[in-house]
């Protein structure tokens, strides 16, 4: 009797593999179709077959008359995402510093902030929109929509920053103080650089969450659209592959943002941990 049969796998392996295969197909299949169809020839339609290959529909994207104000919406979304990114990073770092002090009511403030994660986004947007209306202030993408998006990105940023701070060794700050650094110098030259990879992670979240935010922005962006709303509008009235070209471009932007963020974190971590060849951990090389 063989105890372990090599090469033969149980039935469950094949069932689960098939399930995973379906999942991958479901996740990437439709998206791949969109990416491929965005390269339709000028006479092509919204469905397969491909009638030649071209960049015609990418070109069409940027001509406002045909497809709506794509360029404007894209610019607004990028500026808004950048503002959200900066504010989320700044507030998360400061909140992380504050929450290390275990101040009175810290738990209450924490739950108050995190609660906005579970509130329906549409209602948050509706509330912000109503408030602006009541106060007689016009809703704008760079004001009311910015605020509405921050209710979504800040709790994420804070949670990440808390995790980063929980691993932060206070001995670094004490060592810096011991070496004559003022509180501000400690923050600038020791705390910030050590936190930097964590801040990039927060920035990535802030950017991507803002860039494709829809429910909170819908009722707060005022007279002009952000990109997700522009896409939403196009799905109802644009009947050309320009819609797909838009999908391809936005995916590319997200992809570049993620690559930049993860890449820079990886480079920093690698720089801090790499051991050049010839260095051994062992003690025998200690002399000289």
């Amino acid at each position: 009797m063989q105890k372990l049969q090599t090469g033969k796998r149980p039935l469950s392996f094949y069932v689960l593999s098939a399930f995973f295969g379906l999942f991958v197909l479901f996740l990437y299949g439709p998206m791949s179709a969109i990416y491929i169809l965005s390269f339709q020839g000028p006479s092509g339609g919204l469905t397969f077959p491909m009638r030649g290959w071209s960049l015609h529909w990418f070109d069409a994207l940027f001509s406002q008359q045909r497809t709506g104000d794509f360029a404007g919406a894209f610019t607004r979304s990028m500026i808004l995402a950048a503002m959200v990114l900066l504010l989320t990073v700044a507030v998360s770092v400061v909140a992380g510093l504050a929450f290390r002090r275990r101040f009175v009511g810290a738990a209450f403030v924490f739950y108050l902030a995190v609660a906005s994660l579970i509130m329906p986004g549409l209602l948050v947007g509706l509330g912000v929109g109503l408030t602006f209306q009541t106060l007689g202030i016009q809703t704008r993408w760079f004001a009311s929509a910015l605020g509405a998006q921050l209710t979504w990105t800040l709790p994420f940023g804070m949670l990440i920053m808390f995790a980063v701070f929980s691993r932060f060794n206070r001995a670094y700050e004490e060592a810096a103080r011991d070496l004559g650094a003022t509180n501000w110098q400690i923050f600038l030259w020791v705390v910030l650089p050590i936190l930097f990879p964590g801040m990039i992670a927060v920035a990535l979240f802030g950017f991507t969450l803002s860039y494709d935010e829809f429910p909170r922005t819908l009722l707060t962006s005022g007279a002009t659209n952000t990109l997700p709303m522009e896409i939403w509008g196009m799905t109802t009235n644009v009947t050309s592959p320009a819609l797909y070209a838009l999908g391809t471009v936005t995916t590319l932007v997200s992809f570049i943002a993620i690559t930049l963020a993860l890449g820079s974190i990886a480079i920093i971590q690698w720089r801090r941990s790499r051991r050049p060849p010839g260095i051994t951990t062992h003690s025998t090389k200690e002399q000289e």
């Binding site: 060592a175 011991d178 003690s283």
Partner: protein, 394 residues
């Protein structure tokens, strides 16, 4: 300030006067008085939680005393930040800044003081050279071994030109081989720079090997502050004797006084010992220490035999070969375990076996009278020091 405190010739003398530190309800350090002369290598020694690190941090300025004063060169520094005290601290895990090269780590203090890049880098290189790490200037801390990291940490502290260097368990992160090597290097650097070193450790032999002055602590108080030899050879209390190891502590209540001797009830045995002058009163707690290597073992005719003055009787319960000597444990000799260190040639001339009845005898001049305390604490500490006695006796 008391002008007497300024007598010490070298800079970096430290005085703690009535220092107490409470964290909430618990007192980590209780009413401590301690004087450390300038230029001294001082070890604060004790088990974890004894308050030694708290004292170090109070001298460094990372903790302020609840009561009392910390004086450096006669000046109270309690309200001063670390940098104005002339102290520098080396942290347990070194706390080297992971994002800065060795050179920039060492130059950190100079940068904070606003020194220009070229000058501070030149000074940092000079200091790196003194700790023989110049060729590692561009490395990041994570690229160094433990011993190399320690040298960088030393250089980073020393560049502040401190009067006092405070070291928190500096050797605990290193493996055994490196620990011995870096131990020698610390002593060497202390001599070279001629400043006061205060070194916190829980390892007896580290303290004895390094220090001019050993401060043995327990439960927030100082048990003994003296030279390494005195602390090892002439422990003040049973606790110090137990903690340093290498000693047998005989403790009990005085039940009889004869001419020149006293009888002490210890465990099930009555032990007769040469009495100090003046002799202790009947009924008082009496404690005495005898070094393990100053005990002579001989076979007893029977277990019931009266061992006589300055001797105990018992059975051999353990034999450990240590190379040049053997550690012989004797049970049923007194209230605590009794150990004799016997030279190998003497032992093998007539080897004892486990269970053999023996008499352990010592000369009157080998007796060391201890300051007796309530027996409870000595007993508790006996267990803690048991494991370290072999190393301590060597």
């Amino acid at each position: 300030m008391n002008p007497e405190d300024r007598r010490t010739a070298q800079r970096g003398s430290i005085e703690l006067a009535g220092v107490t530190k409470r964290f909430g309800e618990t007192a980590a350090v209780r009413n401590i008085d301690l004087k450390i002369p300038g230029g001294c290598y001082c070890c604060l020694l004790g088990p974890s939680g004894c308050g030694k690190t708290t004292i170090l941090r109070m001298i460094a300025g990372h903790e302020s005393p609840t009561e009392g004063a910390v004086l450096i060169d006669g000046e109270n520094v309690v309200d001063k930040p670390p940098v104005e005290r002339g102290t520098a601290m080396m942290f347990q895990s070194y706390a080297l800044f992971p994002h800065l090269s060795c050179m920039d780590n060492v130059a950190f203090n100079l940068k904070m003081r606003g020194m220009g890049k070229d000058e501070r880098r030149a000074r940092a290189l000079e200091m790196l050279d003194r700790v023989r790490m110049k060729s590692f200037a561009d490395r990041l801390p994570a690229q160094l071994s433990g011993g190399q990291q320690q040298r960088i940490a030393l250089a980073r502290s020393l560049i502040t030109n401190p009067r006092v260097l405070l070291l928190d368990e500096p050797l605990s992160a290193l493996d055994e081989f490196l620990r011995l090597q870096m131990r020698g290097e610390l002593r060497h650097i202390q001599a070279e720079f001629g400043i006061t070193f205060i070194h916190v450790t829980h390892t007896q032999m580290e303290a004895v090997a390094l220090a001019d002055m050993v401060v043995v602590m327990d439960q927030g108080q100082i048990e003994q502050a003296a030279s390494a030899r005195d602390v090892y050879d002439r422990p003040r209390t049973g606790y110090v004797a137990h903690f340093m190891g290498g000693q047998n502590v005989l403790a009990g209540v005085v039940t009889g006084r004869q001419t020149g001797t006293v009888t002490v009830a210890s465990g099930t045995k009555n032990i007769t010992i040469t009495a100090p002058a003046p002799a202790p009163a009947l009924g008082t707690q009496f404690e005495v220490a005898v070094r393990r290597d100053r005990v002579h073992l001989s076979r007893a005719p029977s277990q019931a035999a009266d061992p006589g003055v300055n001797a105990v009787s018992g059975r051999v319960s353990g034999i450990e070969y240590q190379g040049t000597w053997l550690k012989i444990s004797v049970e049923d000799a007194c209230s605590e375990g009794f150990v004799a260190n016997v030279p190998d040639d003497k032992f093998f001339a007539d080897p004892l076996k486990i269970g053999d009845p023996v008499i352990a005898r010592w000369d009157a001049e080998q007796l060391h009278y201890l300051v007796a305390r309530s027996g409870k604490r000595s007993a508790a500490s006996a267990a803690a020091s048991g494991s370290s006695t072999v190393a301590a006796a060597g």
